[in-house]
Symmetry: C2
Subunit: 288 residues, 2 copies
């Protein structure tokens, strides 16, 4: 499944194989950095993330992190990919936790690079918990989350006077791992259905149909604007402006990573091409 | 109230006075950049924000932006402060909108620098709307919002498996400007009171008592962990871990800008000093 494995050399030191040969074990105290890589545009990395990357000895990363960011690590840094590959599952979270801790205990400066922000649907909390349990120093570097980047690049403000007094981030990922056979995301639909409230859905493309249905059943107007932003902040960013009623059909056109932004403010997005804004339930004066 | 004023010279060109003398009008097309300065730590600025600042001709900023960030603008850039001063109100939003547009129409590269992210309680949407209405190009550069920075620096993940499947950002600011005499924030308390849901409150210190009361009345357990982070990411960052029941008292100790993080995950914050974790309603195994 994954390309790396660890072993002990004849002196008992940890050795990591990742297809480029074994690493060398180190003497000084190691540390884990949980670093947000931002939404994709390398310029949306923080200065701190860039500095931490430049000091990486081991770089453990997901997919979708562009080379321009990975290449900020020194050429001598060992890169370990733990994301999902075609026809492969991603490395299990427990295995990632164990790898981070083992490498840090061995004395490495370990940079765990994650898309967006480590603590917004990034499972960074589980990695931090593993580090704490092992007594390994761990610092978190926040990043620009995909939903916030999508808001900035489309010009649809997540909060806006008169239109959105709150914004909620949820995941549309249906979690079958509870052993209960969940086939849809378990969300508080009544809360999400309130008006004047922006809902940002991560990993919601494949479950867009059920999200739209549940929001409507819970009372949110079917004509509420809904925006899909694929590859936010990247050169191939794509935006589809629709309504909750049209969400499922629009999501069918999306094949890359995307966020859904549902709420009155979605109508403020700067969209090229033909959009039937008349179908959107937003007063005219509120359209910038 | 504010230190700047605008005028026309004898050729009809706009001139801006800000206490340092008049600016010179320009010939080329201007532009507005709405830039998130992040939470305060200059290293949490994005690379893009740093680049845009370096090209600023006029820099319009709020309070609480550290000099290390402001100084990324060239020394020749004109700085205009529009934030709140002691015993003064801040510049009204309409006036800021007008200033941004007037300067951009005059041909300047105008950088509007805002704490955190421009679109999370930053009123950036109103500035973008003014730019669009005037036909002025406007680009938004997202930033690390204060709540996300507070999460990273304290190690309390805003979402966390089993503890928080959603996170909502609200403002605790009571808005009396609707002419209806509001004395408390107008929020959807029932939605915010659901368990396994993180609530991040901006500008909530002065209204912490009413926030705690309304959350409790709406059904959230009084022993739900609550974290106050003052000056998140700055050298003088301070953290108070309490419960909803203790929120008002803890908020009384806070004098700087702060975010409240309410929810089960707040108990995971890394806090020095004495905290009665036994009073927090979080299962032991979930405490990292």
């Amino acid at each position: 499944v994954s390309d790396f494995r660890t072993d002990r050399d004849r002196d008992g030191r940890l050795v990591v194989f990742d297809g480029r040969g074994a690493s060398n074990a180190r003497a000084h105290e190691g540390r884990i950095w949980l670093v947000g890589a931002g939404p994709g545009d390398p310029e949306l990395l923080t200065l701190k993330a860039a500095r931490v990357l430049a000091g990486a000895e081991v770089l453990i990363h997901d997919r979708l992190i562009p080379d321009a960011i990975l290449d900020l690590a020194p050429p001598t840094a060992r890169r370990i990919f733990v994301g999902k590959r075609k026809a492969h599952h991603s490395v299990p979270q427990d295995e990632i936790n164990g790898l981070l801790v083992a490498l840090a205990l061995e004395g490495f400066e370990v940079v765990r690079l994650k898309g967006g922000d480590p603590f917004i649907f990034g499972r960074g909390g589980e990695e931090l918990a593993a580090a704490r349990a092992a007594g390994v120093p761990c610092e978190v570097v926040p990043g620009v989350s995909a939903g916030i980047a999508a808001s900035a690049s489309t010009g649809a403000p997540l909060t806006h006077r008169g239109l959105a007094q709150a914004v909620t981030f949820v995941t549309g990922h249906a979690a079958p791992d509870g052993g209960e056979g969940w086939s849809e995301p378990v969300l508080d639909w009544a809360a999400l259905a309130r008006p004047n409230h922006t809902v940002v859905v991560y990993m919601g493309v494949s479950t867009a149909a059920v999200i739209a249905r549940r929001l409507t059943e819970a009372g949110r107007a079917p004509q509420t604007p809904a925006l899909i932003v694929e590859n936010a902040s990247r050169p191939d960013e794509r935006r589809l402006l629709t309504t909750i009623a049209g969400l499922a059909e629009a999501a069918g056109e999306i094949h890359g990573p995307a966020v859904l932004i549902v709420g009155e403010i979605a109508a403020l997005a700067d969209i090229e091409g033909v959009v039937d804004r008349a179908a959107l339930e937003v007063p005219d004066w509120k359209r910038a």
